[in-house]
C-alpha cells in the first residue's frame, strides 16, 4: 500500500499483517486549517487521528473563546503523534483538539479502531489502559531482558579461567612448579584424546598417602571423569551442577573444544559481587579498610544495576539500603561505643527518601542528647565525612553534612531550628526544612530522632497557614507541557527535576508531613496517603508511575551521556525529548499530565489559587 503511514512504531507494530491490512484500507487523510477545531469537546470524534504534518493542541473546552495567552493547553501533538483514541472509545471528547498550524493527519474511523481493539487485546490495552497500565506494558518489554542479564550471567562471559594444560609424561614435580608459577591449584593433562584433571590435593594424596615419587607422570594420577558445562550455560546452572556433584571445578566446553575451567570459589565471588551478599560483607567488616573494600565494590553494583536496567524502584531501594549500611557501619566503627546511645546519625534529602541512584551526595546530620559532653566529636565527625568521601560519596555542596558543626545539634537546637525554618519558610529555610522533613535515622540511637520528629508533627499539626505556604513551592515551576511542539529549548532539553520530579516529591512531602506519615520515601508516602484516603487512589498510582518514569528517563540519558562523554555532566536533570522513542515520549507526556493534575489537586487542597 502506498500511504506515508509508519506502521513500525508502537502501538501499530502490535498489529498482525492482516490487521494492518484492515488499518490501511480504512485510513483517510484529512486536512485542517490553522485554528480549526478538529475534535470538539462533548462531541463524538471521528476516530483516531495520526499526525502526518502540522501541530495540534489539546485544550480545555471553554478555551476556544479565550485569547491565546490565557488558554490552558495540555499537550501539543506533532508528526507521528496520535490523539482521539480515548475520546473515540468513550464516545465523546472531553477536550478540544485544535490545529495550531495547518495540519494533515491520517484518520482511522472509530468503528475500525474498536474492531482492532477488540480483535487484538495487546493493541487494545495500549489505548484502553490507564497510564499505570500502559506503564506496565512498557516495563514488561524490558524486564525479562534485565533479569536475565543481571541474574543469569553465562559461563563464558563471567569468571571462567584459562586452564593450565600439560602433556602426558610431565612429572609431578614439574607440574607442581608450573602450578605455582601460574598461581593455580588445578591443571589439565592430556592423554591421547582425553583430558584429565589434577589438583593440588590430588598431588598431596599421591605423594603423601599413596607414597608415589615426585617423578610420577601426572597423567597417572589424573581423574578422567570430568563434569563439563557448555560455554553458554547459565552460571547459575553451573553452580547447581557443582553442588550436586560435590565438586569444586567443572570443565567448560564449546562444542567439543575445551574453553576453560570454572572454579567454585570464582563463581561464588562472582555472585557475591553482584547481589545482596555485599550486605553481609558490610555487616562483617571489622575495620575501615574492610569496609572500604566493600564500599568500592558497591560502585560496581550500582553500575551493574544501572547498566542492566534493573527496575528503578528496586535499584533505588537496594542501593539506598547498601549506602545506609555502609554509613551505619562506619559510624559504629568511628564513634566510641559509650557515645553511641546518646547520638543519632540521620540522612536527609534524597538519601533520606531513598531516591538516589547514581552518586549519593552526603546529606547527613547528627542529633545529640541535650547536654552531651563529647570533646572529640568534631575530629571524629570530620573523619567520618572524609572517609565517606574516600568511599565515593561526594561531600554535600551545600555543606549539609556532619563535618559542618551547623548540622551537629542537640535535640533542643534541632527542634528550635525546625521551628525557626517553618516560621520563616522561604528561600534557604524552606530548602533546609524540606530536606529535614525527609530525614530518617541510620545509626546510633534512633529514639532521639523520633522524639524530634514527633514533636515537629505535633507542632505543625493543623497549622494550615504553614502547609499552604509549604505546598506552594510545588507549583513554583510550570509543567513543561507545551514543550512538545519542539520549538523552544530544543538544545537545552527539558528540566525534568523542575518540571516533573520536584512537584511530585514536594507535594507528597507536604501531604505526608500534614498527615504524619512516617515513611520518607515518596513511593511509600504515596501508598500510605492512599491508604489513609488523603490522596485519590488513581491519582496516587499514576504519580508512582510518573515519578518512576521521570527518574528512569533521567537515568537513561545520564548514563548515555556518561558513556559518550566519559564524565558525568552538570545538566543531570536535562532531558532531551527528541532522543526518546515514541513510546517513552508518549509516556512522558502523560506523566506530565499527571503532574499537572496533581498540581491542581494541591491547589484545591491548600487553596493556592492566585
Amino acid at each position: 500500500m502506498t500511504t506515508a503511514f509508519n506502521t513500525s512504531k508502537p502501538p501499530f507494530n502490535l498489529l498482525s499483517p492482516a490487521e494492518l491490512g484492515v488499518l490501511q484500507n480504512n485510513l483517510d487523510i484529512a486536512y485542517f486549517q490553522a485554528g480549526e477545531v478538529i475534535i470538539k469537546a462533548g462531541e463524538p470524534p471521528e476516530g483516531l487521528h495520526i499526525l502526518l504534518k502540522g501541530r495540534v493542541a489539546e485544550e480545555d473546552e471553554q478555551d476556544v473563546a479565550r485569547p491565546e495567552e490565557l488558554r490552558h493547553t495540555y499537550v501539543h501533538y506533532t508528526a507521528e503523534d496520535y490523539f482521539g483514541a480515548w475520546s473515540s472509545m468513550r464516545g465523546r471528547a472531553i477536550h478540544n483538539f485544535v490545529a495550531v498550524e495547518e495540519t494533515i493527519c491520517h484518520i482511522l474511523p472509530t468503528r475500525i479502531l474498536l474492531e482492532l481493539v477488540d480483535s487484538n487485546p495487546v493493541f487494545g490495552d495500549y489505548f484502553r489502559n490507564s497510564f499505570a497500565g500502559r506503564f506496565q506494558l512498557r516495563s514488561n518489554g524490558n524486564v525479562s531482558q534485565d533479569m536475565t542479564e543481571f541474574m543469569l550471567a553465562r559461563v563464558g562471559d563471567s569468571c571462567m579461567r584459562e586452564p593450565l594444560i600439560l602433556l602426558e609424561g610431565t612429572c609431578i614435580q614439574d607440574a607442581f612448579a608450573l602450578m605455582r608459577e601460574r598461581k593455580v591449584d588445578c591443571l589439565l593433562v592430556r592423554r591421547g584424546g582425553r583430558y584429565g584433571m589434577v589438583t593440588g590435593t590430588d598431588m598431596l594424596t599421591a605423594l603423601l598417602q599413596q607414597g608415589l615419587s615426585a617423578a610420577t607422570d601426572v597423567a597417572d594420577i589424573a581423574s578422567y571423569r570430568l563434569i563439563q558445562v557448555g560455554h553458554d550455560e547459565y552460571l547459575f546452572n553451573a553452580l547447581v551442577l557443582m553442588t550436586e556433584h560435590r565438586i569444586e571445578r567443572v570443565v567448560v566446553k564449546d562444542d567439543q573444544e575445551l574453553k576453560g575451567i570454572l572454579e567454585l570459589t570464582d563463581v561464588l565471588s562472582y555472585f557475591s559481587n553482584h547481589s545482596h551478599v555485599l550486605g553481609l560483607r558490610i555487616d562483617r567488616a571489622q575495620t575501615v579498610e574492610d569496609l572500604e573494600e566493600v564500599a568500592t565494590g558497591l560502585n560496581d553494583l550500582v553500575q551493574g544495576l544501572n547498566v542492566h536496567g534493573v527496575k528503578v524502584q528496586f535499584a533505588m531501594e537496594l542501593i539506598a539500603t547498601m549506602n545506609e549500611k555502609v554509613m551505619a557501619k562506619l559510624f559504629n566503627l568511628l564513634v566510641p561505643e559509650d557515645i553511641q546511645p546518646h547520638v543519632c546519625l540521620i540522612v536527609m534529602g534524597s538519601e533520606g527518601r531513598r531516591e538516589q541512584i547514581l552518586k549519593t551526595d552526603q546529606d547527613n546530620a547528627v542529633l545529640m542528647r541535650n547536654g552531651l559532653s563529647w570533646p572529640e566529636k568534631q575530629s571524629v565527625l570530620e573523619a567520618f565525612s572524609r572517609i565517606l568521601a574516600r568511599f565515593g560519596y561526594p561531600p554535600c555542596p551545600g555543606g549539609v553534612m556532619v563535618s559542618n558543626p551547623e548540622w551537629v545539634l542537640s535535640l533542643e537546637q534541632w527542634t528550635q531550628n525546625l521551628r525557626h525554618w517553618s516560621q520563616q519558610a522561604s528561600g534557604d529555610n524552606l530548602l533546609r526544612l524540606a530536606i529535614a522533613v525527609d530525614a530518617h535515622a541510620v545509626a546510633g540511637n534512633a529514639a532521639l530522632f523520633k522524639a524530634a520528629r514527633n514533636w515537629f508533627f505535633r507542632e505543625m499539626s493543623s497549622n494550615q497557614i504553614f502547609f499552604s505556604h509549604f505546598a506552594r513551592a510545588a507549583l513554583n515551576f510550570s509543567t513543561p507541557l507545551t514543550f512538545f511542539g519542539g520549538i523552544k529549548n530544543k538544545e537545552h532539553g527539558l528540566d525534568i527535576k523542575k518540571g516533573g520530579i520536584f512537584p511530585i516529591v514536594h507535594g507528597i512531602r507536604t501531604l505526608a508531613l500534614e498527615h504524619k506519615v512516617l515513611e520518607t520515601n515518596t513511593f511509600k508516602r504515596i501508598d500510605q496517603l492512599i491508604d489513609s484516603q488523603q490522596l485519590p487512589e488513581k491519582l496516587g498510582l499514576d504519580l508512582v508511575h510518573a515519578l518512576g518514569l521521570f527518574i528512569q528517563l533521567r537515568l537513561q540519558q545520564q548514563l548515555e551521556r556518561m558513556k559518550s562523554e566519559g564524565a558525568s555532566d552538570k545538566d543531570a536533570n536535562m532531558l532531551v525529548v527528541e532522543r526518546l522513542d515514541r513510546l517513552d515520549r508518549d509516556l512522558l507526556r502523560e506523566a506530565l499530565h499527571v503532574v499537572k493534575e496533581f498540581k491542581q489537586f494541591l491547589t484545591q487542597r491548600y487553596r493556592l489559587e492566585g
Binding site: 502506498t2 506515508a4 485510513l27 483517510d28 487523510i29 486536512y31 485542517f32 490553522a34 495547518e102
Partner: protein, 208 residues
C-alpha cells in the same frame, strides 16, 4: 478544458446522453473530486500502454478518502517496453495477476462516475484512457478535468509577475511542504496530487 475536448464531449453527450452511460454525462452536483493517475510505458499517447491506474476521492475539497481508493493493475501489454521500467519500476512479472483493460475501464467508470477528475498533466491521462475507451464504449471520458499545475500556477503567478513558474511535480510538492507519497506509483501520485490540491485550495498559500 480545451476547446477541442469540450466540443468532443458536447458531441458525444448528444450521442450517448440517453444510453446506458447517461449518468456519466450528467453535470456533477456533489462535493467530491477524483484525483487520478496512470503509469504508462511511455509518454507518447500513440504508442504508450497503461500499466496501472490509481485514483482517490477528495471530499469537500479537504479530505483525501484513502479508504475509498482505486488501485488497478492491468495485464502486461504485448509491447511491454523495458526503457520505462526504471521510472515506474513495474516489471512485466509484477502485472502477472493484472486485469484486462475492459474490466479495468468498467471499474474506473463505476468509481469516478461523473465527478470532476484531478491530475498532474491530467490531459495525458485522459487521452490515454480515451484511447481505450473509444473502441469499447464509443466515447471518451466526459468528466470535467482539473489541472493541478494550473491551480498552482494561478495562485503562484501573482507573486512572480512575469517570472517563470517552476511547475515540476517535486518542486510543487516541496513548495507546498508536502510529503511525496511513493512517487511513480499511480496511487501514490494520485494521493500526493490530492494533498497538493487540498493544500492549495484550503491552505494559507501566502507562505509559498
Amino acid at each position: 478544458m480545451s476547446l477541442f475536448r469540450s466540443l468532443r464531449v458536447w458531441r458525444e453527450r448528444r450521442q450517448h446522453g440517453d444510453g446506458p452511460f447517461a449518468a456519466l454525462f450528467e453535470p456533477y452536483e456533489g462535493d467530491e473530486i477524483v484525483s487520478l493517475d496512470c503509469e504508462t510505458t511511455s509518454l507518447n499517447v500513440a504508442e504508450a500502454e497503461i500499466l496501472t491506474i490509481g485514483a482517490v476521492k477528495i471530499r469537500k475539497q479537504r479530505r483525501v478518502m484513502l479508504s475509498d481508493r482505486l488501485d488497478i493493475k492491468l495485464k502486461a501489454p504485448a509491447n511491454f517496453r523495458r526503457e520505462s521500467v526504471p521510472i515506474h519500476k513495474i516489471r512485466a512479472m509484477d502485472l502477472a495477476d493484472g486485469v484486462d483493460m475492459h474490466e479495468a475501464l468498467q471499474m474506473l467508470l463505476a468509481y469516478i462516475g461523473n465527478r470532476p477528475l484531478l491530475g498532474y498533466y491530467v490531459n495525458f491521462d485522459l487521452r490515454m484512457l480515451d484511447k481505450y475507451m473509444r473502441p469499447q464504449f464509443g466515447f471518451g471520458l466526459p468528466n470535467k478535468a482539473i489541472e493541478l499545475s494550473e491551480v498552482y500556477n494561478n495562485i503562484i503567478k501573482w507573486r512572480y509577475p512575469g517570472g517563470h513558474v517552476d511547475l515540476r511535480f517535486d518542486t510543487i510538492a516541496s513548495k507546498l511542504d508536502l510529503p511525496i507519497i511513493e512517487r511513480h506509483t499511480a496511487l501514490g501520485d494520485a494521493i500526493t496530487v490530492a494533498l497538493m490540491y487540498v493544500r492549495l485550495t484550503q491552505g494559507d498559500c501566502g507562505v509559498l
